[in-house]
């Protein structure tokens, strides 16, 4: 398990619809804000790269000190799964993204969930954290 990792799902309109600090390191208020800031800054780079490749998984597109940003861009409505991490475990991160993508699709299929709105489901949250423990 990595010491620091911040996972975020950003909707098509650049609004974060899900956030989770999934690292093992103790949580610090200002670190959370910093992570949001770094991920937000990386959005522009994602936009540039996403159209140059057909791959969904874009690894290490941006870095900040020892923190690296990896992104998984979903095909359908351009939702971005973003992960800020300090490990170099690319395979694990890729698997993590793929499984979270599957979870995300399931929650999209829920007729009571409005696409683009915040994901509040505690079931989803539990699953994502479990996946983070498994792969990161």
């Amino acid at each position: 398990m990595t010491s620091t990792a911040c996972f975020m799902i950003v909707s098509r309109n650049d609004i974060p619809i899900y956030e989770a600090e999934v690292g093992a390191a103790p949580k610090k208020e200002e670190a959370v804000h910093q992570h949001q800031f770094i991920l937000h800054a990386a959005l522009d780079i994602v936009q540039d790269i996403a159209w140059t490749t057909s791959a969904m998984f874009l690894k290490s597109i941006d870095r900040f000190n020892d923190l690296v940003v990896s992104v998984y861009v979903t095909a359908a409505i351009h939702t971005r799964l973003m992960l800020l991490h300090d490990s170099r475990n690319d395979d694990g991160i890729k698997s993590f993204f793929q499984e979270v993508h599957e979870l995300y699709i399931k929650s999209l299929l829920n007729p009571l969930y409005l696409p683009g709105s915040r994901i509040k489901s505690s079931h989803f949250d539990t699953k994502v954290r479990a996946l983070a423990r498994k792969y990161l």
Binding site: N110, P111, L112
Partner: protein, 185 residues
């Protein structure tokens, strides 16, 4: 001589079917739209029940025509037929009947599996919603067409964390058939 009654499985094997996801998502879209239009969860429950009722009063004819079931002798047999043949025929799932009261007028139909609720998770804003209320309406409507006034409530709901779906059927009264004309007219 009337043809023998057919089992739910046999009928289910012979009817046209649609993809389960299409069905589930279509029903989901209806509920979603009702929630948007009516805003109140209670109103949505009522509306779903009414829609189910309107389906039920028509569906009973199809049910009787396809299943060749003859008159049930009592409410117990009726409940069994609904669970074993009705649910199997239209939803493709088998339900079981239990929890009879001593008078034989109240029972539970238990669904272990329900294709309507795949993918669904109730958000906090819809906690009072009976997502499958359409089913209770269907059963109520169908029974009313065969002269049984019933009251149907949900006792257990998987979406609320229970282990199964349980419909409580209560027979209010048997309505004698009325003819709209007199013999000498």
């Amino acid at each position: 001589m009337a043809p023998p009654p057919r089992s739910g499985d046999a009928i289910f094997a012979n009817v046209d079917r649609v993809n389960a996801e299409l069905f589930t998502l279509t029903y989901g879209a209806i509920v979603r739209q009702l929630l948007t239009d009516l805003e109140e969860v209670d109103e949505v429950n009522k509306q779903l029940d009414q829609m189910g009722y309107n389906i039920g009063i028509r569906l009973i004819d199809e049910f009787l025509a396809k299943s060749n079931i003859s008159t049930c002798v009592d409410f117990k047999e009726t409940a069994e037929v609904i669970a074993k043949v009705g649910f199997k025929m239209f939803l493709g799932v088998t339900a079981s009947v239990s929890n009879w009261d001593p008078e034989g007028t109240t029972c539970s139909i238990i669904l272990e599996d329900n294709p309507l609720v795949d993918f669904v998770e109730l958000p906090d804003t819809c906690q009072g919603l009976y997502y499958c209320n359409i089913l209770s309406g269907v059963v109520r409507g169908a029974l009313e067409m065969v002269s049984m006034k019933t009251e149907i409530t949900w006792v257990r709901d998987m979406l609320r964390g229970d282990d199964a779906f349980e419909l409580r059927l209560k027979l209010l009264k048997q309505v004698p058939e009325e003819y709209p004309y007199k013999d000498d007219e």
